[in-house]
């Protein structure tokens, strides 16, 4: 597939200015097909802002954003607030922005283990149930890019691993790009191809291993990074295996990408 090699979205030196300050500045990022890119960073580091700029929800005040023409995106917000007066069941919610047949919707729901919620009202779902429904919606819509904003919030540790596994399976199945936002450090590392560490600017970026071992990352997350790292090392074999299998599978498009990572600017402002 020729499409696989092209980048889906790209931010070039992008910045977002609101209420007298730059929320983020100097962001460079690219998401390619069949690639999982994770944005990590502490609260208020501009992860959601960056993601919204990248998919064209908000316009950058500086720099440029590129979105491939007619790119089919599926956006999974952290949570949504629907007025009580609006009756909307899960199967209608799956059809929110595109037509999905009932069969496809049910297949997607059973993939995420949410088939029993099919006729529940969206407002009554718990955080974890809602994430499963969102994920099912993404599968059913067959997008070329999936954007997930903290998909594991309010999900227990076991569910967390399951969700990341699911994301990886969706990527393998649909060959779509994935932009993942997380403030959580270790678990997400195992499920991602590339990591960008944000704190108002790009602190460091690269493969999960590179980022986890970098000085900037440790400085940003401090003591937590050490414990996080321990856990991360714990699952290291698995991680290496995943990485290896992925790279061998995707050597054509992957080679250029890795060198690209080296060019990511390391900006220090503080």
């Amino acid at each position: 597939m020729i499409r696989n090699n092209s980048s889906l979205i790209r931010l070039k030196n992008a910045g977002f200015f609101r209420s007298g300050r730059w929320l983020v500045r100097g962001i460079n990022l690219t998401v390619n097909s069949s690639e999982i890119l994770t944005l990590i960073g502490p609260n208020g580091s501009g992860k959601s802002t960056t993601a919204k700029m990248a998919i064209g929800v908000s316009k950058p005040d500086e720099g440029t954003s590129y979105k491939r023409q007619g790119l089919k995106i599926s956006y999974l917000p952290q949570r949504i607030s629907i007025d009580w007066t609006l009756p909307i069941k899960v199967n209608r919610f799956i059809n929110l922005t595109g037509r999905v047949s009932r069969k496809e919707a049910n297949e997607a729901l059973s993939l995420t283990g949410a088939l029993h919620l099919e006729n529940s009202d969206v407002k009554t779902l718990s955080g974890g149930e809602f994430q499963r429904v969102l994920m099912a919606r993404a599968i059913a819509c067959k997008p070329e890019l999936i954007v997930l904003d903290e998909p594991v919030q309010g999900v227990d540790f076991k569910g967390e691993i399951a969700i990341y596994e699911l994301i990886r399976n969706i990527r393998d199945e649909l060959k779509c790009g994935v932009l993942l936002i997380s403030h959580d450090l270790h678990v997400v590392m195992a499920a991602t191809d590339r990591v960008i560490c944000l704190n108002g600017h790009v602190c460091c970026s690269g493969t999960p291993m590179n980022v986890a071992n970098s000085k900037e990352y440790k400085a940003l997350f401090g003591a937590r990074a050490v414990t996080g790292l321990a856990l991360y090392e714990h699952g290291n074999d698995y991680q290496n295996f995943r990485d290896g299998s992925f790279q061998s599978k995707d050597q054509t498009g992957g080679a250029g990408r890795t060198s690209d990572d080296g060019h990511q600017p390391h900006i220090y402002k503080n």
């Binding site: 998919i55 929800v57 917000p77 609006l86 009756p87 909307i88 929110l96 922005t97 819509c141």
Partner: protein
């Protein structure tokens, strides 16, 4: 079913009258009353679905503001001797634009801004009317609606404008609805929510302009809110709720107008009173119905859980 019963209660005495009274009443029906029913039906068909959005998006106060500004539109129409509906529409658009501008410039909550706009428009309208000593205005008619004032031309405007509104709403339903559920999803997935919001605003302005004569400036919002609120009790999906709201709106208009004919009460308030009665009747068994529903859902859930465990 309750609605039908209520409607029957409203209609029955009149049917009896028709069958026993002289032809006088029938000719009267031919004249203004039929026109009022036709006009009211046209209004209800539009305010039902659009009212759902007013309720879902909490736009009630916005609707109030636009309709209060309607009086300014009336004053301007009388001053320049132009069509009232068009003037009210223009003023509604102007107020919406003013709101958007103020929201980006002034650091006040939308709530307060709407209050400012509503009352300055209403007060300006009243003051302007009082200056025009040469025009005799039936202020009550504008404030509360007047079936006597409905002309065949008004009906044409209501049905024509209403058909236009419904058509636009149908075409852009998908994008307006997705923007209502979540603006970020709608934006990211290419549904153009900003345009959808502007379309919705314009539709509101049209509806307020065309329904002013039936229910009056002060009560238009009730035609938007009541049918939707009543429909919410029974609807399980958004489209179903919109359809149900239109039907309920028609029933309420019939109930109110027949009541107003029977008891010789002003048409607008009568429609609203009929709507309130409907709302109260449908709201009373809410808790008990909900309890029964919940119990059965819990039962189903536990059964399902048992099956899963097995």
């Amino acid at each position: 079913m309750v609605l039908v019963a209520l409607l029957m209660m409203g209609i029955n005495p009149i049917f009896i009258k028709i069958s026993f009274d002289t032809k006088e009443l029938i000719t009267m029906m031919d004249d203004f009353f039929t026109r009022a029913l036709v006009a009211g039906t046209g209004v209800a068909l539009v305010t039902g679905p659009l009212g759902c959005y007013v309720v879902w998006r909490r736009l009630a106060y916005f609707g109030d503001t636009l309709s209060h500004a309607g009086l300014l539109g009336v004053a301007l129409a009388l001053l320049f001797e132009v069509n009232t509906t068009l003037t009210v529409f223009a003023v509604s658009i102007f107020i919406s634009m003013a709101l958007l501008l103020l929201q980006s410039r002034v650091k006040l909550s939308s709530d307060a801004l709407l209050g400012l706009l509503a009352h300055s428009a209403l007060a300006t309208g009243m003051v302007a009317l009082s200056f025009m000593t040469w025009v005799r205005v039936d202020l009550m008619g504008f404030l509360f609606g007047d079936i006597l004032a409905v002309t065949p031309f008004d009906i044409a405007i209501i049905w024509g404008g209403g058909a236009f509104v419904l058509l636009v709403l149908l075409i852009s339903w998908h994008s307006i609805f997705s923007a209502t559920v979540n603006i970020d999803i709608a934006q990211a997935e290419g549904m153009k929510p900003k345009q959808a919001n502007i379309v919705l605003m314009l539709l509101m302005a049209v509806v307020i302009a065309i329904s002013m004569k039936i229910v009056g400036v002060l009560l238009i919002t009730s035609m938007l809110i009541f049918p939707a609120a009543i429909a919410r009790r029974f609807a399980t999906g958004p489209e179903q709720m919109a359809l149900l709201a239109a039907i309920i709106g028609i029933l309420v208009v019939f109930g109110g107008l027949f009541g107003s004919l029977h008891w010789d009460t002003p048409s607008g308030p009568s429609i609203v009173v009929a709507a309130s009665v409907c709302f109260i009747i449908t709201a009373i068994p809410a808790t008990s119905i909900q309890m029964i529903k919940n119990a059965s859902i819990e039962k189903l859930d536990s059964e399902q859980n048992e099956i899963i465990k097995k």
